[in-house]
């Protein structure tokens, strides 16, 4: 394994850390969700990239092909993408409701509004 063959792992880790950082460092609720989405997307790469074999084909038995890519990670990630979309959609719906209730989507302003009230 040289550095180039590990490229996909570095990309995964980079995206993962960037996503988590955005979730923690941003106060804007939508930006947090963007970070969360990046974090989740990095996992797709973690699963998919090792399933690809150089020179491999789709896993259909046919003459002249002996190297096949693993199809299972794709199936798993298809499910994970659905889950990710559901989380993002629900998160955004909650942000809409929060904005209606607090008139803000900045975490510090919402916390301040709570402090004032109680």
């Amino acid at each position: 394994m040289n550095a180039a063959s590990q490229f996909s792992y570095w990309a995964t880790i980079g995206l993962m850390v960037a996503g988590l950082f955005i979730v923690m460092a941003r106060a804007n609720l939508i930006k947090k969700l963007v970070g969360l989405a990046i974090f989740q997307t990095s996992i797709y790469l973690l699963y998919i990239a090792p399933g690809k074999l150089i020179g491999g084909t789709a896993p259909i038995i046919a003459d002249g092909f002996s190297i096949y890519s693993n199809p299972l990670p794709h199936v798993l990630i298809l499910t994970a993408i659905v889950v990710g979309i559901a989380v993002l959609a629900l998160g955004l719906a909650l942000v809409v409701r929060i904005r209606e209730a607090y008139d803000s989507i900045e975490e510090d302003e919402i916390l301040a509004a709570e402090e004032r009230q109680h």
Binding site: L29, I43, T79, G91, I98
Partner: protein, 494 residues
């Protein structure tokens, strides 16, 4: 006979089906009937499953007849049967309660959606427990979590929205950490079937990706089960969710995550890897003690009784993980028994409190003043449940703490016995705060003179409290299955 073979999958399919049915029915009491029937079916099935695996049998079910490790396997052993029994039992009691309770808390036009979400959440939790496929666990975890986020957001207070959002962010990070761990294990073993994975791990157990997977899974699930200090989402989520949702979640959601952690530690990684190679027991011991003292300490200073009980939950989770950190049969037994007993006790407490909220209009301790006179049955139940939290002999809480103390003595750790006793004293203090309010203060002037909660709320709640006393006197069910499960888990990997 043929239907009996399909019991493991029926556990999940019946509640899963009742969710779209509830949405289609929309009006009237049909959604309620669908959800309740499904929960009762699941409970009946889990009793049948529990009896079947009592003597060490393991039931396997292959979805679509694809044999493991290629297909998805559902697997019921003594450990999962106990958790199935707990989750479906709590759902079967909470659902009849929810009908009257959500009338007071959720707009009528959203009721059918509530029942659909409840069924989905139940299907997810049962699915996590019954499946033996690592990725399947993740999918069910997200089904349960997504429906939980929505149910929390149904709370009347606008803070419920923020609590739900925070839980969504933390919960998704937890689930994603879990799936990173599963991905690493899949890369190293090429399988997702848990028993198969355990076999193949033997060859690669000390490699770095496997250790990283262990770390990711531990942190991810610790977020989900609210292990101190990853608990920040819990107090607000429990406090602002509708009463019936809080009662259901307190009894099931964190407990099922604990189950998954135990499952991965003992059935996949094996205790020699988890507990001997890494400083995990020490770390878990430390965090458990922190939870037992800090969270219980914070509970004492709460002004809202629902929030007080939520903080107490975090403290009680500390006892469960404390038992886990011992890595002995007695310790694991204590941990599983406390998982069961605390779920029932806390569920009963939240149900009773929900009844009080319907009458008094709030869960602030000042609103509950004089409750002993205005609602004698409710407040007496809360006191009994509170005694269970403390661990007074005769309640379920005593049994689990007794085993915890036994496990500590077995390892010769005397100081831990004192730690358990000391943190129980903290529980005395926070339970006393309710007793003082309910029995030694005059009711607020705008309170009706004497009005008990409706029977439809009181009966399910008292059923839970009665169960918590029953399991404190007759321990054959809880300790019997828990020690059987613990022996199975530790014995297999020796």
């Amino acid at each position: 006979m043929s239907i009996a073979l399909h019991m493991p999958v029926l556990q999940v399919v019946v509640p899963l089906l009742s969710a779209p049915l509830a949405v289609l029915a929309r009006r009237g009491s049909l959604p309620f009937m669908f959800a309740t029937t499904a929960a009762w079916c699941a409970f009946a099935t889990s009793i049948a499953l529990w009896m079947e695996v009592q003597h060490g049998a393991v039931l396997s079910y292959f979805i679509g007849s694809w044999p493991a490790p290629w297909g998805i396997e559902y697997r019921v052993d003594r450990l999962s049967a106990l958790v199935l029994l707990l989750v479906s039992g709590i759902a079967a009691v909470v659902l009849p309660y929810s009908r009257r309770s959500i009338e007071a808390e959720i707009p009528r036009e959203q009721h059918y959606l509530f029942y659909a979400l409840f069924s989905l959440c139940l299907a997810g939790l049962l699915g996590i427990t019954v499946t033996a496929d690592a990725f399947n666990i993740f999918v069910f975890l997200e089904i349960a979590s997504l429906s939980t986020y929505v149910m929390i957001a149904l709370g009347r207070d606008r803070r419920a929205l923020v609590a739900s959002y925070q839980y969504l962010v933390m919960g998704t990070i937890g689930a994603t950490f879990f799936v990173v761990g599963v991905g690493l294990l899949y890369l190293m073993t090429g399988t997702l079937n848990l028993p198969d994975m355990a076999e193949r791990l033997a060859a690669v157990r000390h490699t770095r990706p496997v250790l990283a997977a262990l770390a990711f899974i531990t942190v991810g699930l610790s977020l989900k089960l609210a292990l101190f200090p990853l608990h920040q989402w819990l107090p607000n989520a429990y406090t602002y969710a509708p009463s019936t949702v809080t009662a259901f979640l307190a009894g099931t959601a964190t407990k099922v995550s604990l189950y998954v952690l135990v499952r991965f530690y003992y059935s996949v990684f094996g205790e020699s890897l988890v507990f001997r190679q890494l400083p995990l027991p020490e770390l878990m011991l430390l965090l458990s003690l922190a939870a037992m003292f800090i969270a219980s300490g914070i509970a004492i200073f709460q002004q809202d009784f629902k929030k007080l009980l939520s903080w107490s939950s975090i403290g009680q989770i500390g006892y469960i993980t404390l038992g886990l950190s011992f890595d002995t049969v007695t310790g694991l037994t204590a941990s599983l028994v406390h998982l069961f007993n605390h779920a029932i006790t806390k569920c009963g407490l939240f149900l009773l409190l929900g009844g009080a909220v319907v009458v008094t209009g709030g869960s602030a301790l000042t609103r509950l003043a004089g409750l002993g006179r205005t609602m004698p049955l409710t407040s007496f139940g809360i006191v009994i449940g509170g005694l269970g939290l403390i661990g007074v002999p005769g309640t379920a809480g005593f049994v689990s703490k007794w085993y915890l103390v036994l496990a500590a003595l077995e390892r010769g750790e005397w100081w831990l016995v004192f730690a358990v006793l000391l943190s129980s004293l903290l529980a005395v203090v926070y339970v006393w705060r309710f007793v003082e309010m309910a029995y030694f203060r005059a009711p607020p002037s705008d309170m009706p003179p004497r009005r008990e909660a409706p029977a439809s709320l009181l009966i399910p709640a008292w059923l839970m409290i009665a169960a918590s006393v029953y399991f404190g006197l007759d321990t054959s069910v809880t300790v019997g299955s828990a020690s059987g499960a613990a022996e199975m888990l530790i014995g297999v990997k020796k």
